[in-house]
Subunit: 621 residues, 2 copies
Amino acid sequence: MEVRLTTGKTVSVSEGDDLYHALKGQGVYLVASCGGKGACGKCKVRIVEGRSESVSHGKLGPKEREEGFVLACQTYPKGDILIEIPKESMLAVGDKIAISKSRDLFELFESFNVAVSPVVKHLCLDVPPPTIHDNISDIERLKRALEERGIKGMRFSHGFVSSMAKALREAEWKIILGYTEDSGAVFISNGNNYKDKYGLAVDIGTTTVVVYLVDLADGRLIDVGSTYNSQIRYGDDVITRIIHATEGGGLSELRDAVIGDINDILTPLVERHSIEREDIASVVVAGNTTMSQLFWGLDPAPIREEPYIPTVNFFPKWRAGTAKIAVNSQAPVYTVPCIASYVGGDIVAGVLASKMHRNPEVALFMDIGTNGEIAVGNNEWLMTAACSAGPCFEGSGIRHGMRATEGAIEKVRIDPKTYEPELGVIGDAKPVGICGSGMIDAISEMFLTGVIDQKGKLVRHRKTDRIRGGEDGFEFVFSREGRDVALTEADIENIIRAKAAIYAGVSLLLKEVGFGLDAVERVYIAGGFGNYLDIERAIILGMLPDLPRDKFTFLGNTSITGAYLCLLSESLRREAEEIASKMTYMELSVSRGFMDEYLSALFLPHTDIGLFPTVAGLMAK
Amino acid sequence: MEVRLTTGKTVSVSEGDDLYHALKGQGVYLVASCGGKGACGKCKVRIVEGRSESVSHGKLGPKEREEGFVLACQTYPKGDILIEIPKESMLAVGDKIAISKSRDLFELFESFNVAVSPVVKHLCLDVPPPTIHDNISDIERLKRALEERGIKGMRFSHGFVSSMAKALREAEWKIILGYTEDSGAVFISNGNNYKDKYGLAVDIGTTTVVVYLVDLADGRLIDVGSTYNSQIRYGDDVITRIIHATEGGGLSELRDAVIGDINDILTPLVERHSIEREDIASVVVAGNTTMSQLFWGLDPAPIREEPYIPTVNFFPKWRAGTAKIAVNSQAPVYTVPCIASYVGGDIVAGVLASKMHRNPEVALFMDIGTNGEIAVGNNEWLMTAACSAGPCFEGSGIRHGMRATEGAIEKVRIDPKTYEPELGVIGDAKPVGICGSGMIDAISEMFLTGVIDQKGKLVRHRKTDRIRGGEDGFEFVFSREGRDVALTEADIENIIRAKAAIYAGVSLLLKEVGFGLDAVERVYIAGGFGNYLDIERAIILGMLPDLPRDKFTFLGNTSITGAYLCLLSESLRREAEEIASKMTYMELSVSRGFMDEYLSALFLPHTDIGLFPTVAGLMAK
């Protein structure tokens, strides 16, 4: 049987294969954070023509079902069919935003003023071929050639040696040897016919996984892929995942899930650019401490038991083969070091990308991801803490939430008289969902226009049909083009809880270090907000402190940026390690003040309006 | 269904299971060099009672079939049965000869006058447990404790780190750390409850595999197991195996075969002594160069292509997990270094065990295994060469040939008048076959008594019914107790070819170094001859040179002895490496003189009887 896509592509499918797996098998990758089990509802497709059978409809609403939408993973074609795949169901490969930033990224790297020095170094060697009189073995011959160049004691892994005989002979003994100083030989390339080598920078978020494919010769970002972290099927936050890891087989399920995500993202990237996986010679991974342990299959249980100790913060450079990443199995994997159980390599990468560790001014760094980590300090000292914000800004737990990819509402203005919204959508497409920056815009606008009150409840007597009772309670509809996109009261409550946790964390951390807000000279905001975050609106929401706007800089996903920087430079890897060594971790959860701060922040913008003078001014208008 | 053994043991078997695999699955290990495919005919058992169906009888003769013998791997029980397993079919575990030599072995080790220093060193560490204020990760904590003891830069493999969190906590932070200086941490043991660690010495012969299980605390040989190298199913000699390795999947088949043999030998050993596999913390492997490459899964193809270069002679210490040996996966595997494509670690181990590299007198070392390697030299110089002798002395290619285990004829005297043989059988058992030393005895006796002529042909007019026409041509029957044990003319021809190759090698190597036989002050004979080789008879055969008998010493399997020595001592591992570095390899096959020497040696004892004056004297009588 054949499945035609409205884009023109055709894939074949056998009796008994579901659509999700049939498409995946032939290079069409759908989002499915549940792994294709009918639970997440993300792999929605529309049957345009032909007959199919769906064994379940999961979270699909009656309207969507009426329009012909089905869950691909629950649907079995019963003959040739024609389907349409909505944008939000496609795995985001080649994110236009990120790729457009490629030049900015390399400029950022250049601004650090360090040499390009990837994890794997290259050495051209013209090895004398063996003869009947000079008949030492291949490995001794290579060692002898290295010693003549002053390099002694190089390590040779079994995997490297297994392919050595063939590689040396194919290159006719004129080789380029890829190696790392501490973990030894990585690859042998033909010196007569050298091909560029590539690297991967990987950000493993609790909610999303992002992969950058980088040309190591010139630092160019070639392509980007991202998806939801399919560990989500075992729980939304790190704690439920740690609990799952301690159950029989749970640890390897979690490990396999995230490794599968990375490999799934990688496949279309290498196919599109005709890159040999063997030529991907190094990998840098940044993630929070639990994500880093799970990536390496290390038991995270001690992280949630006092005194909260991870197995590893500073990871040895193990191999891609050990990590099960489908690139050159000998490629070293550099893991950005972690600080403590609840502040990990993503924050170290973020601080690195912000450069706050290089400057004398006191800066505040806020990473608004699933957890919400903050750091404060300068080139002399650094303090950090974690606040449990939850994954809503990454689209998880919000009915129409999505990542900042094409079709996401990222800007919202609401007419104070008609309550009609004006929307900015990524890629100028039809809106299919709302991303983190859109949520912040939306709620601050709803608040300022009186659509919601200070507690985030919809003011039901406003004269607009945009406020309506929906399947999940009251909601405000932002878009009716194609698919309805709305925020429910439950969504709004989730977002307010998240912003309260973040604000409370900032307050408390500053108090602990004995600084007032006025001492903060710069605020760096990081998070998966795509290319846009309206600082003004985030202050109105009460998520960011009410400081002069010119102190704020929005940096986007700094975890992937920091991983990219570490991929390119030995000095920056050393800087990341220094950041991780010198950063002091503060455990907010054992602080008595935290709950008070949190409860006070559960209002818009805050119970103590005196903390938000400019917002008070706006409200007065 | 149940299978009862005449020994009393009962194993259950399901419909459709063959006897060989059913027995193996329940701890009864039969010899099967073909891997249970009906080809080698070694897994013979006798059905005493009950019904069974055999799909093939392979090499079983009509008499054996009449007696109820079947091939276990080709036989399916059709109800409860009672079977008898002949001794020669049992995998030789707990070889009585070798174990009885346990004290001799340790005395040999002591005679080297070096300290016991296994590959893995031990360090007791009392690590301060983590607290909320001292919350560095487990790996940093361990590194800190090591640095306080002056140990920096230890390597931590992923496998070690994966089990570290649990091990540290179970030991309550009082640990014994096992490590090697160059490849890092190996195990964490509970310091409050320390268990002895064990090691394996492994001899991988082309024809046989021997494993010694050793207590690393006191160097005691705990038990021994051995079997045929089941790579035999892909060819008898190294060349056919190298060719097989280059065919699709052949390399991994060969690797899996020998690793399977080692693991098969290991299972009954650890079960019998209630040893945890995790407590087997190091492995030393000695084998010829091809066997060493195949053990590690390295492509041996370049070994047989000019200029005959192996991938590795000096192997890094890779891990047991990488080797797929079923012991502690982190255990380092030390491979005794090889010299050249056709002289390997077995010879280095042998020279080490002989001590010829320590003494000023010129010695000749002869290892009569599948290949037949020889070395000559002293504490200043060493030369070596390989002669293709074939595997007959190890029982392969000889109709009733077997290894030197219980039931093997190892001594033969023939009455010069009646031609009746008098036999010495290992274990004083009923003879079931003939081993290498028995063959040498038998042929020299047959020659001296005129049963065979100088070309090895049976003199058919001798008045004895022991000479008879058999299925495979003319043969001489040594035993009719239970099973007939005979040598055929084809067997005799094989043995004469083997001895000729060895003698020709010795002649040529001595000529090359410019020495006469009289310069040789000692001759060390090694090979799988069990506990017995009659030097006198081997000279009559013309395999050994006709030198004063007191110059000869029979050393048995020196490959396993050398591996055992390397398992126990760092200094001896260094000595082995020095032997491998300083030994000069001579390629006999390119020497024009070889074929002449070989053809001259195809007589008993030799075409030039002047080379064997004492044999000439015996013949005159």
